[in-house]
């Protein structure tokens, strides 16, 4: 369970202690900046911000390498598509394939954008326990007029927390089934279709049983979905306000129009 994609790593750091709402807003603003980034200068700045956060979050670099690793193939394809299919000054060609300067730049920037989106997202999930993320999202949802379309923010948050409770369990289940089938001679690389069936069919069967067990454990502990309180209270502290101040500066830096003109030169 510990090497789960986008998992929470409980240690004590400034980032861990921040209010979940501060971190969620931070991720949203960071995503906007990342998606707007169109020059190496901006990407470098984003990387700089990430490195600072990495430094203060007290987590091993390996954790972030692990969150990027499963997506490497996706990043590679993204990069290659941009590299070969962007028109412009040809800098290299081999038979019918040609690489343009523009393609190289665009490919690198677009790929790095996705890498950083993922890295910032894993900063949030690594430093914030899922139940705190849920609590944060619930408090945002409460501001939306969801009631008018027939959804209560509480139901929504409950649904989210249930899937958070069940996800690690299902993953754990998947892993033990996969290992069991491999030890019985299943070769996933050679017979991918057979592998899918021989893992997914028992997975559904055992998952249903285990989900029932967890549901029973929850009911046993008086879960009814209503009248719940939380061990965590959400409150903004001095550090949170400091972060909002930083957000303001960094964000306006990124969105300022003259900034774009300046770096293109």
């Amino acid at each position: 369970m510990d090497d789960l994609f986008l998992s929470f790593v409980p240690v004590n750091s400034i980032l861990h202690r921040l209010d979940p709402r501060t971190k969620i807003i931070g991720l949203m603003l960071a995503s906007i900046c990342i998606l707007k980034a169109s020059s190496f200068m901006e990407i470098t700045l984003i990387m700089f911000v990430f490195l600072i956060l990495l430094f203060i979050c007290h987590l091993p670099v390996m954790h972030f390498v692990r969150s990027v690793r499963p997506m490497l193939l996706f990043f590679a394809i993204l990069f290659l598509v941009q590299l070969f299919f962007t028109e412009g000054t040809v800098i290299f060609s081999f038979k019918w394939l040609s690489v343009s300067y523009e393609g190289l730049v665009l490919g690198t920037i677009i790929t790095l954008r996705f890498v950083f989106l993922l890295l910032f997202a894993s900063l949030l999930t690594a430093t914030t326990s899922p139940s705190r993320i849920t609590a944060g999202i619930e408090s945002f949802l409460r501001l939306l007029p969801l009631k008018h379309i027939g959804i209560s923010s509480h139901d929504f948050a409950m649904m989210m927390s249930l899937s958070i409770y069940f996800a690690p369990l299902l993953y754990d289940n998947f892993r033990s089934l996969r290992d069991a089938q491999i030890s019985r001679g299943l070769d996933i690389k050679k017979e991918p279709v057979k592998a899918i069936f021989s893992i997914s069919i028992p997975l559904v069967a055992t998952s249903v049983r285990r989900v029932e067990e967890v549901a029973m454990a929850m009911e046993s502990r008086c879960y009814s979905g209503i009248g719940r309180t939380s061990m965590y209270v959400m409150e903004f502290r001095r550090m949170d306000y400091l972060f909002y101040l930083l957000y303001f500066f960094i964000f306006s830096f990124f969105t300022m129009p003259y900034f774009k003109g300046y770096i293109i030169i």
Partner: protein, 274 residues
């Protein structure tokens, strides 16, 4: 004596028609340690799950501290009074860290934040897992997970704890530790209902209930039941100690009234013989 649990003519039928409990009647008194034993499939878990309203009777009634489980307005109250620890250490973990898992129950009770924290710390301390409270369960052994499961029930301040074969997936050492915690709770006044198919775990029980095919076949003092011949039919394996004690008893060397249930007691009995 005060009834904590009063079960009257309870029958349970699964929707597919299988009769799993057949007119079961039994009581659990305040402060008692009741062990329920029987073969796999004899209906032990089903019976236990009726004791905190996880399952509801098809016929008959289950009353916990004066509250009938069939009345849904009592159900949360009943579950707070009668907590349950399950067999599988993995699938009763709710939350990402130990602290969150233990907090889950008190959070459901709607307690204020400081109370929740106090209860979490106290119950983790009671089972000796306080130092791990910020860890994820992935790093724990089966025995440690069961301790946390027990802590998560203790945090709800129950009066009765129902244990469903909680040691069956554990190594002997952790089994001993968990049993130690349970006996300690019993000594402090908690009512215990303990389901097992291991006879050697009955040493601490005040009373033994043996189940077979959804019925109660024996209900009484463990040593009396075990010293009678006919429990063998219920199909459990006797641990060597009890097997030996039984043979000595059957051949008249040991008085059935002081039937030894543990190695130490058998040792004493043998010393007396010599």
């Amino acid at each position: 004596m005060i009834y904590m649990i009063h079960i009257n003519n309870l029958s349970y039928r699964y929707p597919d028609g299988t009769l799993v409990l057949d007119s079961v009647s039994m009581d659990v008194h305040k402060g008692e340690f009741v062990a329920i034993a029987g073969k796999n499939g004899s209906g032990k878990s089903t019976l236990l799950r009726h004791m905190n309203g996880l399952m509801l009777p098809s016929e008959g009634s289950v009353v916990v501290k004066g509250m009938d489980t069939i009345d849904s307005s009592f159900i949360l109250n009943i579950r707070q009074i009668a907590g349950m620890v399950f067999q599988d250490p993995q699938s009763q973990f709710i939350g990402m860290t130990l602290e969150e898992d233990v907090a889950f129950g008190p959070e459901n009770l709607g307690l204020p934040q400081e109370d929740i924290r106090k209860r979490v710390d106290m119950s983790l301390q009671d089972v000796g897992m306080q130092e791990y409270k910020h860890q994820t369960p992935g790093s724990l052994s089966g025995g440690q997970k069961q301790k946390v499961a027990l802590a998560s029930i203790l945090a709800m301040k129950p009066e009765i704890i129902l244990f469903d074969e909680v040691t069956s997936m554990l190594d002997p050492y952790s089994r001993g530790e968990i049993l130690g915690l349970i006996t300690q709770l019993h000594e402090n006044g908690t009512t215990i209902v303990y389901v097992t198919h291991r006879l050697e775990e009955l040493v601490h029980a005040d009373r033994l209930i043996v189940m077979e095919n959804g019925r109660i076949t024996h209900n009484g003092y463990p040593r009396v039941i075990l010293s009678q011949g006919n429990v063998v039919d219920s199909g459990f394996e006797f641990p060597p100690v009890i097997e030996l004690a039984k043979r000595l008893c059957d051949s008249g060397f040991i008085d059935p009234a002081c039937f030894p249930l543990s190695r130490e007691k058998l040792m004493e009995a043998l010393c007396q013989l010599m």
